[in-house]
Symmetry: C2
Subunit: 409 residues, 2 copies
Amino acid sequence: MKSDLPEIMKQANLDALLITGPTRHNAAMTYFTGSVHVGQADLLVPRGEDPILVFHNPMEREEASSTGLRTKNSDAYKPMELLEKSGGDPLKAIALRYQLMFEEFGISGRVALYGKVEAGPLLTIIRYLEKLLPNVKIVGENNLNSTLIRARATKDEYEIEQIRDIGKSTVEVVSRVAELLKSSPVKGNILQDREGESLTVGKVKNRINLWLAELGAENPHGTIFAPGRDGGIPHNTGQANDPIYTGTPIVFDIYPCQSGGGYFYDFTRTWCVGHAPDEVQQAYEDVLDVYNQVSEAIKPDTLCRIYQDLTCELFEKKGHATIRQNPSLTSGYVHSLAHGVGLEVHEGPYFRSAESNHDMVKKGSVVTIEPGLYYPERGFGIRIEDTVQVRPDGNLEILVDFPKDLVLK
Amino acid sequence: MKSDLPEIMKQANLDALLITGPTRHNAAMTYFTGSVHVGQADLLVPRGEDPILVFHNPMEREEASSTGLRTKNSDAYKPMELLEKSGGDPLKAIALRYQLMFEEFGISGRVALYGKVEAGPLLTIIRYLEKLLPNVKIVGENNLNSTLIRARATKDEYEIEQIRDIGKSTVEVVSRVAELLKSSPVKGNILQDREGESLTVGKVKNRINLWLAELGAENPHGTIFAPGRDGGIPHNTGQANDPIYTGTPIVFDIYPCQSGGGYFYDFTRTWCVGHAPDEVQQAYEDVLDVYNQVSEAIKPDTLCRIYQDLTCELFEKKGHATIRQNPSLTSGYVHSLAHGVGLEVHEGPYFRSAESNHDMVKKGSVVTIEPGLYYPERGFGIRIEDTVQVRPDGNLEILVDFPKDLVLK
């Protein structure tokens, strides 16, 4: 969590962070500012000191100030003079501003760069800056294991309540979708809408988007609502024009975020409307049993990857092929057990089984648990997923609970 | 437009473009792929040749293929072998893959970098790549004037229809908001909702978001719905808890995009519910007259900045202060007349009056026209904005028209 940052920066031999871009939909920046709307800014984080937010639009003074951070208006660096000094090169003028900022706040040495921004101009700015300040080295860390990703891999109380908050909206929408499916009339074995036409995957997704908007959530990555064979391919999100059949399992994976690109939630249920075929019921029980056993096993201060191994072992015992036997597997248990959830829907800690993966489960981890089985050739997939926290007492807590019934009726 | 790209690349002495990141919410990539959903990819654009899309997830083969581009699965470069060759450094492994890609497709020389991505890791990858390929120079162009921004500054027929398409949804929502305001009961001089409570700015914005979602649009940058003094500050988006008064002008600026981060539309009306104060009516007529005069003046193959000068001149004649007299002006005509609209809500051509601004109005330009007057100290602001195209015959066309009445009743 944020309070670990000085120690993690020390381990990475970093003297400061430089984070650039908007405050929203830009996780590294949002981590410090919250989802306040500042269109363009730079954040300096000297190791062990309070961050400084340099905002670029004087009209955003109040928003900048509401972050609670030390703030500075970039007009103070006289951008027109810098542009003249740069010979009319706007990217060099920005580098000159960074030089002034670094000098003012005593920043030198190794500075890690963050920000989800258009990469080209920034590359040029960094090249200028390193020429202007030979005692500064701008460092670009690996996304999966960077200083900020390591800090963000455990959450403080405020963050956990933010995730629970978006979780409540998520599960409310899930509950409304369940009601919609249960209450839809059936013609033959096809669900109908109120107009007496087929209730398609696309229509359900439209309702999901409306309900999320109504609850103030955003849905930047879309939703998986994938019946039958499509549910058997983990990345398939479902075809808009497909009807919904009774007795065909639907993988429903929903992962919205707070308005403005704040915290995410990640949640999956697999449902059969009316009744479930025996082979689906059997596979579902296998997934649920693995979910329960793995949930009981997870303890703080252990390596994440041992739970991926455990999941594979449990599935193999039940007769299912797993990805540890064959990395290109498409039938059986084909993905990883879990991942961290926070300002990005996928973030550390990661649960890949690679021995190079040293990510740990810790108190304050917020992670998914999402075992699944995929049999596209048999026309189905199954996944059960909750977002959980590892509480200060070491126990797991599902942040927002919802029944795990396969059959909706 | 896209067909101008080889010539613009030649002028910029570029041999290729390298665009990285997802296909959505990443304008440089979306420009070539459309809003197909490919999570992670690299696009190579050799000058004068067809682009090649290298996608990273084999499960996204069908989506990649539906772009109509030449495609290649990055698995073909054997990422596990590259990781081993890199000594376990994932960023170096990506640089090694770029090396193979550049060699396979004959790319060398000056290559411009694009993509809205986390900047740190890419910086490291580029440093490795330039060491691996000394005959390659990765170039980061200035965002306001880059090769792609220059190509995108004129639109082909397909793009204009995309912008008109999101324009129709935008104006449909505007029309619903007008109906909502006209049909709301009034208590004293405050608008009421159906529950007999105040109809607040926040409630109107919620309805806007719902309606946009219903029409399949996204609203990544929010909406300005700013009554009274707030409308007098161009960047103020309106306070959620503020009530809506009759006789107080509201600046309503709405700028959604197609689902998945496609094309934008940009539209503003200023409304008074019931009646308008005389001074507001007078200022409104000044803005409308300037809007009409400037719209008539705009012709293809002219410098954009002359229309900013014209706008200032017209407002000054009517007795209003303008930004060309004082760059820090907060009262009068305080911003720029217009900007291009496309895959970003603000893009070239730009209408800044600076002599260094050589952007041109051309056939195929899609731009806003948005004169306004701001008097926060008198409790109001006014702006009228449409998105227009410069047609092949040289005439201006409002893409989706809507009445320009100040008073709603």
